[in-house]
C-alpha cells in the first residue's frame, strides 16, 4: 500500500518535487514516456481552464433548474474590488463555483478526484497561477503532485461518496489542491503533506447528503468552501505550521470514519440535507 511519507522521502533524497517523483513512477508503471504523460495532463489542464471560463459566463442552468449563475455573482464582487475576503479568496470561490456549475449543467470537466468535487483543484491552481505568475510546466507538475495524494487516498481509503461520504470526495479534493498550492508556492515536499493533512482534517466526517440525489445541492457550493480550506491549509503549511497527525494517518482515520458512517449519509439521499423539509420539497417538485 502506498504511503505519502514514501513520496516525501524519495523527493527529499533525490531533491525533486513530489510531482516529479509521481511522474517517474507512473512512466515506469504505464510503460509510457514522461513527456507523453505530461502532454495528457496538459490536455486535462486545458479542459479545467475552459470549464472555469464557461462557468464564469454564468449562462447555464442545470436540468433541475437549481444550479447556475452563482459563479458569475461572486465574480462580479471579485472584479469590483469590493470583495470582503480579497481578490485571491473571492477568485478561488468564483472559479470553484464555475467549474462545479459546468459539471451540474452537463458541461465538460475533469473529475478531480470525482465529478462532484471537480471545482476545487482548478480553482486553487488557477488562483495560485494568477497570484504567482507560475509557468504552465509547473502547473502540470503540480497536477501530478495532486494525483499522488489522490492515489495514496485511493489505496488506503477511497474517493467515493457512496463508500466514504463527502469527506472522501471534497475532502480528498481539498487535500490534493492544498498540496499542489504548496508546491507551486515553493514549499518543501514535507509541507505538501502537512497542507493536505490540514485540509483533510477540516473536512473529516462530512457526509454525502445530496438533495434529490443530484450532484447539485450542496455539492456545488461545497466546492467553493473546500477551495478556501485548501488555500488556508496551504498558507499554514507554507508558514511552517505542521499537522500533528501525519497525512497517512489522517487518510486512515478518514477511511475508518467512512466505514462508521450510516448508509443513509453515503450518497443515498436518505438523510441530512436531503431529508430537510426543503430538500423533500425540491425532490417532490422535480421527480
Amino acid at each position: 500500500m502506498r504511503t505519502y511519507q514514501d513520496y516525501v522521502q524519495l523527493a527529499e533524497e533525490r531533491e525533486l518535487k513530489i510531482g516529479e517523483i509521481v511522474l517517474v513512477e507512473q512512466a515506469e508503471e504505464s510503460e509510457k514516456t514522461e513527456s507523453e504523460l505530461r502532454e495528457r495532463m496538459r490536455l486535462s489542464l486545458n479542459v479545467m481552464r475552459a470549464a472555469v471560463q464557461t462557468g464564469l459566463s454564468g449562462e447555464r442552468k442545470s436540468l433541475s433548474g437549481l444550479i447556475g449563475g452563482d459563479a458569475a455573482k461572486v465574480q462580479a464582487r471579485w472584479k469590483s474590488g469590493e470583495s470582503l475576503t480579497g481578490e485571491r479568496i473571492s477568485g478561488a470561490i468564483a472559479r470553484a463555483l464555475a467549474v462545479a456549475e459546468v459539471n451540474a449543467t452537463m458541461g465538460k470537466i475533469v473529475a478531480a478526484p470525482t465529478a462532484g468535487s471537480c471545482g476545487v483543484l482548478p480553482a486553487v491552481l488557477l488562483t495560485v497561477e494568477e497570484a504567482l505568475n507560475c509557468p504552465e510546466e509547473d502547473l502540470v507538475t503540480a497536477l501530478f503532485t495532486a494525483a499522488g495524494i489522490g492515489m495514496v487516498i485511493a489505496d488506503r481509503a477511497n474517493v467515493s461518496g457512496a463508500e466514504g461520504g463527502c469527506q472522501a470526495e471534497i475532502g480528498s479534493a481539498a487535500g490534493m489542491a492544498a498540496a499542489a498550492a504548496v508546491e507551486l508556492s515553493g514549499g518543501t515536499p514535507g509541507q505538501t503533506g502537512d497542507a493536505a493533512a490540514l485540509a483533510m482534517k477540516s473536512l473529516l466526517g462530512l457526509v454525502c447528503d445530496p438533495v434529490a440525489g443530484l450532484v447539485e445541492v450542496p455539492c456545488v457550493k461545497r466546492n467553493a468552501t473546500a477551495a478556501t480550506i485548501a488555500l488556508a491549509a496551504a498558507e499554514m503549511a507554507l508558514a511552517g505550521v505542521e499537522s500533528k497527525i501525519p497525512l497517512d494517518e489522517v487518510i486512515d482515520a478518514m477511511n475508518e470514519i467512512g466505514k462508521q458512517m450510516p448508509c443513509s449519509l453515503r450518497e443515498t439521499a436518505q438523510g441530512g440535507l436531503a431529508l430537510t423539509p426543503t430538500g423533500r420539497r425540491i425532490k417532490a417538485e422535480f421527480i
Binding site: 452537463m106 478531480a112 465529478a115 489522490g150 492515489m151 440525489g213 447539485e216
Partner: protein, 223 residues
C-alpha cells in the same frame, strides 16, 4: 483491485454531472452498441433502481442514448443526444422497471440493428465511470470492457477450452482473464476470455468451425 493511476484521480475528462450516472451511462451505451456490432435502428432502454429514480437529473437517459450513438464520455453533444437520435431516425423508448437483485445503477438495452439483429444487454455502472456487463441475451456474463473480450457459447465437453486457447495462441492473442461456467455437466457452457490483442474475424471464424461451439462473439474494449 488494480492499483490506481494518475489519470484515475485527475480524470476522466467527462461531461457532467456524475461519473456513475453520466459517464458510466455513456460507457454502458457504448458497450451495448459494440455488442450489437452495427448501428441501431431501435432502442428500448429499461432503467432500474437509482438510474430510474435520479437518472433524470443526472442526464442518465441522454448519456445512455449518446453511448448507443457511439459518443465518448467527453462528447459535448451528450446533452443533445435524444435530438441527435431523432435526426438519425433511431427510435428510442424508455421504461422504468425493477430488474431484480442487481446493482442500483443498472440498465437493460434491447437494440435492433439495421440488419434486423436484436440483442439484449444488461449492465451496471459501478462507480467512477467503470461499468460491468452482466447479461447478453439469455447469458449471464461478467466483464468490464477494459479488454478485447471473447464470449463463447459451447457444449461442456473435455478439450473445448483447450481447442479455443490453442486457436488464440496461434493467432498470437494473449489471455488476460478467462472464466468458464456451465449449466450442468455435459450441457451448455459459457467461456469469457479477456485478451490483450484484438480477436480478428479470421480467428473468430475458426472458433465457430469447432463442432462444440454454438456461438462466438468478439467485443472491442471501450476507449
Amino acid at each position: 483491485m488494480a492499483k490506481s493511476t494518475v489519470f484515475d484521480l485527475i480524470g476522466p475528462v467527462m461531461v457532467g454531472p456524475s461519473s456513475s450516472h453520466t459517464a458510466g451511462a455513456v460507457r454502458l451505451g457504448a458497450m451495448a452498441l459494440k455488442i450489437l456490432g452495427t448501428e441501431p435502428l431501435e432502442a428500448e432502454i429499461t432503467l432500474h433502481g437509482s438510474f430510474a429514480e435520479t437518472g433524470k437529473g443526472h442526464g442518465t437517459n441522454l448519456a445512455l442514448v449518446a453511448g448507443i450513438l457511439g459518443m465518448h464520455t467527453d462528447d459535448e453533444r451528450i446533452p443533445q443526444a435524444v435530438q441527435l437520435a431523432e435526426k438519425k431516425e433511431v427510435k428510442v423508448r424508455f421504461k422504468c422497471e425493477n430488474l431484480g437483485e442487481v446493482h442500483p445503477n443498472t440498465v437493460k438495452f434491447r437494440l435492433t440493428g439495421g440488419d434486423g439483429k436484436v440483442v439484449e444487454v444488461i449492465g451496471s455502472s459501478i462507480g467512477g465511470g467503470r461499468i460491468v456487463i452482466n447479461r447478453i441475451n439469455e447469458f449471464q456474463v461478467e466483464f468490464m470492457g477494459d479488454y478485447y473480450t471473447l464470449v463463447l457459447l459451447h457444449q461442456d465437453l473435455p478439450g473445448v477450452v483447450a481447442q479455443v486457447t490453442s486457436l488464440l495462441a496461434t493467432a498470437q492473442i494473449n489471455i488476460a482473464q478467462m472464466h468458464v461456467s456451465r449449466e450442468k455437466k455435459g450441457a451448455q457452457a459459457l467461456t469469457i476470455v479477456e485478451a490483450d490483442q484484438a480477436i480478428e474475424p479470421a480467428a473468430l471464424a475458426l472458433m465457430l468451425k469447432l463442432p462444440a461451439v454454438y456461438q462466438a462473439l468478439a467485443i472491442e474494449p471501450l476507449e
